[in-house]
């Protein structure tokens, strides 16, 4: 899952991005409203964390411009004002949720999970494909009751495929949603991680869940 973090106070932005990456998200950071608009317009993000007081273009304007362009990425607003007016205004402009500073990073993560879940129309934090269970909140994966140990990147990849279970996901989509600009660009990095993932979840199992559709992409689902 790829998150755009828009925050002009560098120490806070660093902590948010740091904690997102350690939790398997891809995170891009921008520090002003104009950049936020440019990045947000790509539509590649699964969620945007948006501070309201920004240089050049304020957060609410960024939000209303994105919505005006039909970009419906879930937006979590960060505000230092606890006035009701600000919150209502933010939600009116199309924000999905808001957090008042100072907040705990754990709460930020929980809110983001909820936003992304809503985006992919799943009511719960766990996704089940056959005997594979992916638990986003506990960051735990089991196959046939056995715990599968995954790296953060592998988990992020599996989580994205699971959110779109039964659909063919292209390599470009994986690149857009699982990797951020900090990642080393490499043509086969997606294939390499798919290989790691396949080894960990399908190896030694009776049925295979991770399928390759040649020339199209990958699909997570039970045998058809």
């Amino acid at each position: 899952m790829r998150i755009l973090v828009v925050e002009d106070y560098a120490p806070l932005a660093q902590s948010i991005c740091g904690t997102l990456r350690e939790n398997g998200y891809a995170a891009d950071h921008v520090a002003d409203g104009e950049e936020a608009l440019a990045f947000g317009q790509t539509g590649n993000y699964d969620a945007v964390v948006l501070d309201l007081m920004l240089p050049k273009l304020d957060g609410l304007s960024v939000l209303s411009k994105l919505r005006a362009q039909g970009i419906d990425t879930p937006v979590l607003i960060l505000t230092a004002r606890d006035g009701v007016r600000d919150r209502v205004q933010g939600l009116d402009e199309g924000a999905y949720d808001y957090l008042v500073k100072p907040f705990a990073l754990a709460e930020l993560l929980a809110r983001l999970r909820a936003l992304i879940r809503r985006r992919y129309n799943t009511a719960r934090n766990t996704v089940q494909i056959g005997d594979l269970v992916v638990d986003s909140s506990a960051r735990k994966v089991t196959r046939a009751g056995q715990l599968v140990h995954l790296s953060a990147r592998e988990f992020a990849l599996l989580e994205y495929l699971a959110s779109r279970k039964g659909q063919v996901v292209t390599r470009a989509e994986i690149w857009d949603h699982v990797y951020d600009f900090a990642s080393e660009p490499s043509s086969n990095v997606v294939d390499v991680y798919i290989g790691y993932l396949r080894k960990k979840i399908d190896h030694g199992q009776a049925s295979r869940l991770l399928h390759t559709r040649r020339g199209q992409g990958y699909l997570l689902g039970e045998d058809e």
């Binding site: 120490p11 806070l12 902590s15 904690t19 240089p55 230092a80 008042v100 100072p102």
Partner: protein
């Protein structure tokens, strides 16, 4: 001390005035009326006396004869009595009953004499005594003898006194009625006029901290109260503005503190999320320390600003060496200047001093210098100058970026940051508003001025020579 209401004071004053006016008016009216009645009475006495005398005629032999009266003479039943004597004391004519004693006579003098006495009827009466020369026969040839007769007319004054008493009763009744009516009307008038004060009071009472936008309606006020009302409205205006400033200040302070606090919390939570290498911990601690320093500086600036604006500032003036002041303040930020490749020149004269508060001047100059260090484009230059003779205490000029004239004024407002991203939150938009507040307290003026090639100069001047150019 007893507090009398305005209504009570005015009412009493009006009622007292009305009482005095009515009383005086009644007394004057009564005196005039009584006097005129007495005059009329006396006039009738004189007329009666002349009529009586007119019936006497001096014959040629000097005897007095009584002619038949053309107008009937009064009878005792008219409560009027008369008697006429010759100069020898003989009674010539009278209307008193037989056997009745003569009327009372006064010493003989020419002018008429009025005397209050008892009438023959035993009532209070008034008498007139008149010396008259009887007329002679129309065809008489001898000259008149010049003999005089004395006429005395007495008339009861009972009716007159009764009239006067009746009139007084009427006057008293009318006076009391007029008094009551006047008092009632004036009380109503006072109440009506002062009712406006009640309205004003009620209007003012409705104004509290949540209704500071309310104003007294000046159009409805009586003219005497308009200046007070206008003053009150001005006061409310200022109060509302200051409440609004306070509210915004609190909001801004809370915003400026919440963001770094969130950053600090984030750094610590992230570091504690899992086991890390000593290098990672060290980095987290360094970053947390930097954020805490920012917050400390913000808090100090906020407190300084509050103190400067509360005018509770204690100012101790002494000679302040300006060059040394600039050097000391720059030393504190020289690391940052070096990191941003800024060239700093102190052109302040060794001898330049200023009579001012050293501590406050340091706060002012250090804010200007540190501002320049953080905002000047990387690789630029910063210059400090001073020209006390021209009223320029200190001028910190940097190579830019340039600011528009609107921005140059806006930077002195609280919590205005023109570009927050560039300085990583080190500035809180409070430094320059602190500079402005402190310079004002010291009787100085701070301003931002555009220089050639996009350079910008922050100048502190003495007030007297505020117009001097660098």
């Amino acid at each position: 001390m007893k507090r009398w209401s305005l209504r009570r004071r005015l009412s009493l004053a009006v009622v007292a005035a009305v009482t005095i006016v009515i009383a005086c008016f009644s007394l004057v009216l009564d005196a005039a009326f009584e006097r005129s009645l007495w005059r009329e009475f006396d006039g009738r006495l004189i007329e009666t006396a002349r009529r009586v005398a007119g019936t006497l005629e001096e014959a040629e032999d000097g005897d007095l004869e009584v002619e038949p009266a053309t107008v009937p003479l009064p009878e005792p039943t008219d409560a009027t009595w008369f008697e006429v004597w010759t100069d020898r004391g003989e009674v010539v004519l009278r209307n008193l009953p037989e056997g009745q004693a003569d009327l009372q006579r006064q010493p003989t003098v020419l002018r008429p004499i009025f005397v209050d006495l008892q009438s023959p009827g035993g009532q209070q009466a008034r008498s007139l005594q008149l010396q008259v020369e009887p007329h002679t026969e129309a065809h008489a040839e001898a000259p008149p003898s010049g003999r005089m007769v004395t006429v005395v007319v007495v008339r009861d004054t009972v009716t007159l006194r009764q009239e006067i008493a009746d009139f007084r009763k009427l006057m008293a009744g009318a006076g009391v009625a007029a008094f009551l009516l006047a008092a009632l009307l004036s009380l109503l008038a006072v109440r009506g006029a002062l009712g406006v004060l009640d309205d004003i009071g009620a209007q003012i009472e409705r104004i509290d901290s949540s209704h500071l936008g309310d104003r007294l309606k000046l159009d409805d006020l009586p003219s005497e109260v308009v200046p007070a009302g206008r003053k009150l409205n001005e006061l409310l205006q200022r109060l509302e503005a200051s409440f609004e400033r306070e509210r915004r200040f609190n909001e801004d302070v809370s915003h400026e503190l919440r963001t770094p606090l969130s950053g600090l919390l984030g750094i610590l939570e992230l570091a504690a999320a899992r086991e890390r290498t000593p290098a990672e911990y060290r980095e987290a601690i360094e970053r947390a320390t930097q954020v805490t320093r920012d917050m400390r500086r913000l808090v100090i600036n906020i407190l300084e600003l509050a103190r400067a604006e509360s005018s509770a500032l204690e100012i101790r003036k002494e000679p302040v060496p300006l060059r040394e002041l600039v050097d000391v303040t720059f030393a504190a930020v020289s690391d940052r200047a070096q990191a941003r490749k800024l060239k700093f020149t102190n052109q302040v004269d060794e001898a330049a001093t200023m009579q001012s508060d050293a501590g406050l001047m340091r706060v002012i100059v250090s804010n200007l210098v540190s501002n320049a260090v953080d905002y000047t484009d990387e690789g630029g230059w910063i210059t400090a100058e001073s020209a006390p003779a021209d009223g320029i205490v200190v001028a910190i000029t940097d190579s830019g970026p340039a600011l528009t004239s609107e921005q140059r004024e806006r930077v002195f407002q609280r919590f205005v940051r023109l570009d927050g991203a560039r300085t990583h939150g080190a500035h809180h938009g409070i430094g320059l508003s602190l500079v402005r507040a402190l310079t004002e307290q010291l009787g100085l003026v701070a301003s931002a001025e555009a220089r050639q090639d996009g350079a910008i100069s922050f100048v502190v001047r003495t007030r007297a020579q505020g117009g001097a150019q660098l």
